[in-house]
Every structure is written in structure tokens, then in C-alpha cells.
């Protein structure tokens, strides 16, 4: 298993919102759900490689800022055209008020 990576403080992301997190050569999107949980997905839309963190979070859906493709950020599932391909998702945990994510090997 790979290490947990420190992302941000829990209060750096408002509830029902998203931030961009760049690590290595990759960009991720980190979400704070209305229930207070945290989630992580790939940061770029699978349609045209746009940063999802500029999009709108409503409930468990992230809507891409560019052509309104939608994904469920808890499962990564594409939920509306033109998004067809799913997003990768990553495990997230909270330790001492810090959000951490784990990358797949």
C-alpha cells in the first residue's frame, strides 16, 4: 500500500464544495460532502481535461464548468453527457483535522 498524502485542513474546503489538489504530475479534486465526509477523484474531466474544481458541487454531483458533464464524486461514475468515461476515485481519511488521500500503486 502506498502512503497517505497530506492534502489540506478539513476547514479548507467548505461543505458541498471542492478544491484542486496537485501532487506529482497529477491533479486531483477533493470534495467535502453535505454530510461532512471527504472524497477524492481525478482532477480533470474525462471529456476534455478541464479542472473539475472550477465546477459546481450539488449534493454528491460535480458538474464540469465547461460543457456541464456530471459525475458522482463518491463513485466516480459519469452521470450526464458529454461525460461518458468514469473518473478515478481515491481513498480519503481525516487525521487530526487534516484531510489525507491515498494514491493507488
Amino acid at each position: 500500500m502506498s502512503d497517505w498524502i497530506d492534502v489540506c485542513a478539513t476547514d479548507d474546503i467548505e461543505e458541498e464544495d471542492v478544491i484542486r489538489f496537485d501532487h506529482g504530475a497529477h491533479s486531483y479534486a477533493i470534495y467535502h460532502s453535505p454530510e461532512g465526509e471527504f472524497f477524492a477523484t481525478d482532477g480533470l474531466c474525462t471529456h476534455e481535461q478541464v479542472h473539475l474544481a472550477d465546477g459546481l458541487v450539488m449534493n454528491h454531483i460535480i458538474e464540469c464548468p465547461k460543457h456541464n458533464g456530471q459525475f458522482n464524486y463518491k463513485t466516480g461514475e459519469a452521470a450526464r453527457l458529454p461525460a461518458c468515461d468514469h473518473l478515478g476515485t481515491y481513498p480519503v481519511r481525516v487525521v487530526d483535522g487534516r484531510v489525507q488521500m491515498q494514491l493507488s500503486e
Binding site: 472550477d54 459546481l56 456541464n68
Partner: protein
């Protein structure tokens, strides 16, 4: 063969209709007939060449059609509809029976009038083949004149000038994009084009085109090795009209996309819908074409779709993007919401303070989130405080949550 759903036109609308019918649980045969020689693709990338060439972007991967049991006949044209026999005839002479028929025949570029004073070979952009022809022939240093300062003309101007062609855009109206966005946004788009080297002539018409020279109403003459016309589009209605369906600024449909024949529907760029105060309206937008197709597919499957969201449109101009929701009217009351990034959102309200339209323009994708929230505020019919709308420090999402 059992008669099922037949869709004429395999653009975004037609493909979305097949998608909508299957999503609604329709299990019968779906035949999608399209006359373009390419596998069904997206049109928007044809004028936005991020890099060297226009992209050929499929709407769905090939296996989607097999998985969803869509019989795709591409490169095939429908030549006639027989309403009493309920079938369509293909170019090959073969007939296909239908239970429900959707016309998603799209639109074609509006041509210069036949008496236009021109001896040049005018080019138009609608299909992938058109885009490839432009990309092959126009190179660095080419002199290009684009007639029409609408979205497609301006996107092409941006793509071609990024290729180091010399581009002039000729627009008859006093400002570019006059039909689609308010003056503040027209001005920002104009300024961007100017700084990136495109010459835009507004309030200007063409007097004559001769020997690769375009004489303008201002007295100026510009060189046009390549002449491109982008003066709007006309709905493809011949098939419908020949079958006796009502055509009025597009194939006339009701709110459920039915024509005057209850088994024939029309959606997307080819159709017109009644809009209060505006008469029969065509939308000519990718999202609207997809939404309408998806909903028409559901209707043909016997399911009543949700109400249509306000129309939405986007355009890319260089590294900037523009988004519009609703139908802006220059006469409307406008609230200006400047963005910290230097972009701008204009929001229109009616006399009661209800939001009716908005437009935004900024570098990157900075307007997407706010425009989406405004679309939701419009659907909710709320009347937010204009001062809050104008204040970039008040997130629009708070207004959406407060209602």
C-alpha cells in the same frame, strides 16, 4: 420487420434521442439514419482547433451503439416520408417502417444570396469534411476574410489566427455577437480578438468581391485568398415540408416535440418551439439539441420528460470562454458582476426582479460555475437582491441555498 423508432439525422440530437428512448426503458428497435460519411461526431470542435487540426470527436464510442442495440445506418440518406404507409425511403430505395419517427435533420449554413457580387469561391463550415478542407488549405501567412461576426466566424478567426493566418472579420451589425450577448460582452470579445491580431470590421458590409479582393462599404479593400461565410444557419426542413408537415422557422413542434402528425416528432437545430413573446424560436445550441433529443426520445418511448431547463450555450474564443443561459435581450435590465479574474458576468432580470438570462466571458473556465448557478436560480424563479448579484464577494451559491 417490426416497426420501431426511426431517427433521421445522426447528429448530437439524433444520437441523444436514441439514448433518451433507451434510458426511458424502450425495448423495441431503434434505427438511426445519418447521411454524413463519418461515424456520428461532435460539431463544436470543428471551429475550435486547439492546436494544428480540427478534432474528429465521436459523440459515443462505437460499442455504445451495439450495447444499446441502435441500428446505425451512417452514410445513408432519407429521401422521403410516406405518412399513410408510415415508412421512410432511403437513398438506396429501401423503405423502413416506423411506429414513431423523429426528424433530427439539423441545419445548414446560410448561403450568400445568389445575386451577391462575388466571383470568389466561398467556403462554409458545418461538417468535418468542411473543417478538414479549411485546415488543409489555410496556412501561416494566408489572407482570410470571414463574413459574419457570429460565434462560428469568430471561433474560426481565433483558430486561424493562432495558425498565423491574417484574418479579417466583416460584420454588418454595429457590434459582434449582437443577437446573442449584451454589449459589454461583445466589447470584451472584440478587444480580445484585436489584441490577438484579428481585424474586425463592424458596421461594415461587402460591396463586391473580385479577383480575391473584397471591397468594403467603408471604402477599404482587403485581400481574401480564402473567403469564409459565417452568416448563420437555416433549418433542414425539405424532407418535412415534402411530407406535408408544418414548417415555420423550422419544423414546427409543440412542447413535447410533436409535429402536426402525432407519430412524427422533430428536435434540435431543425425544429422551432413556441416561446412566449418571441414567436417560433430555434435555439441552435449543442446543449439544447442534446436536451431536446433526449426528451423527444423519452416522449417516443411513452414517458413524459421533465420540464426543459433554460437554454444554455458556450463558445471558446482563444483561451477564453463564453457562456450564455436564457436568451439575453439588449433592452433588458442588466446587473454587472465583475469577476476577480478580470472576467464579467451580466445578469438580466424582468420588471419583477426574476432572472431571465445571463452571459459571462473570462479567461479559462472562470464563468462556468456562476452561469450554472444562475441557470438553477432561473429554474427556481427566485428574485435575488440585485446588490448581492452584483457583488463578486457574495458567492451565488449562498443565494441558491438561501431560497
Amino acid at each position: 420487420m417490426m416497426a420501431g423508432i426511426v431517427i433521421v439525422g445522426a447528429g448530437y440530437c439524433g444520437v441523444s434521442a436514441a439514448h433518451g428512448a433507451r434510458a426511458a426503458g424502450y425495448d423495441g428497435p431503434i434505427t438511426l439514419v445519418g447521411d454524413d460519411p463519418e461515424w456520428p461526431y461532435e460539431r463544436p470542435p470543428l471551429s475550435k482547433w486547439d492546436g494544428a487540426m480540427p478534432r474528429l470527436q465521436p459523440i459515443f464510442p462505437e460499442d455504445w451503439y451495439t450495447q444499446n442495440r441502435i441500428d446505425l445506418k451512417w452514410g445513408a440518406v432519407v429521401t422521403a416520408i410516406d405518412r399513410s404507409a408510415r415508412n421512410v425511403t432511403l437513398g438506396t430505395g429501401v423503405t423502413l417502417p416506423y411506429a414513431k419517427l423523429l426528424l433530427a435533420t439539423g441545419a445548414s449554413p446560410r448561403h450568400l444570396p445568389p445575386h451577391a457580387p462575388s466571383d470568389a469561391c466561398a467556403r462554409y463550415l458545418r461538417s468535418h469534411a468542411d473543417a478538414m478542407n479549411l485546415a488543409q488549405d489555410i496556412c501561416a501567412g494566408s489572407d482570410v476574410v470571414i463574413i459574419g461576426g457570429g460565434f462560428i466566424g469568430l471561433e474560426l478567426a481565433a483558430s486561424l489566427s493562432a495558425r498565423k493566418a491574417f484574418v479579417h472579420v466583416i460584420e454588418a451589425q454595429e457590434r459582434i455577437l449582437a443577437r446573442a450577448v449584451p454589449p459589454e460582452i461583445s466589447q470584451m470579445v472584440l478587444d480580445l480578438h484585436k489584441t490577438r491580431g484579428v481585424t474586425v470590421h463592424t458596421g461594415t458590409t461587402v460591396d463586391a468581391i473580385k479577383n480575391n479582393l473584397v471591397s468594403l462599404s467603408t471604402g477599404q479593400t482587403v485581400r481574401a485568398e480564402h473567403l469564409i461565410i459565417g452568416i448563420g444557419s437555416e433549418p433542414n426542413t425539405v424532407l418535412a415540408a415534402n411530407a406535408g408537415l408544418t414548417v415555420d422557422n423550422g419544423i414546427a413542434v409543440d412542447g413535447c416535440f410533436a409535429t402536426n402528425d402525432p407519430d412524427i416528432f422533430a428536435a434540435g437545430d431543425c425544429c422551432s418551439l413556441p416561446v412566449e413573446g418571441a414567436g417560433r424560436t430555434r435555439f441552435e445550441s449543442w446543449q439544447v439539441a442534446g436536451d431536446q433529443g433526449y426528451r423527444a426520445g423519452k416522449v417516443m418511448a411513452g414517458v413524459t420528460p421533465d420540464p426543459t431547463p433554460p437554454p444554455w450555450f458556450w463558445s471558446d474564443q482563444f483561451d477564453h470562454s463564453l457562456q450564455v443561459v436564457g436568451q439575453p435581450s439588449p433592452a433588458g435590465t442588466r446587473i454587472l458582476r465583475p469577476l476577480p479574474s478580470g472576467g464579467l458576468i451580466t445578469i438580466e432580470t424582468d420588471d419583477n426582479g426574476t432572472l431571465t438570462a445571463a452571459a459571462g466571458f473570462a479567461a479559462g473556465n472562470a464563468v462556468g460555475r456562476d452561469i450554472k448557478i444562475i441557470q438553477k436560480l432561473m429554474q427556481a424563479g427566485v428574485t435575488p437582491d440585485p446588490a448581492a448579484l452584483a457583488d463578486p464577494n457574495t458567492p451565488l451559491k449562498t443565494i441558491l441555498k438561501q431560497r
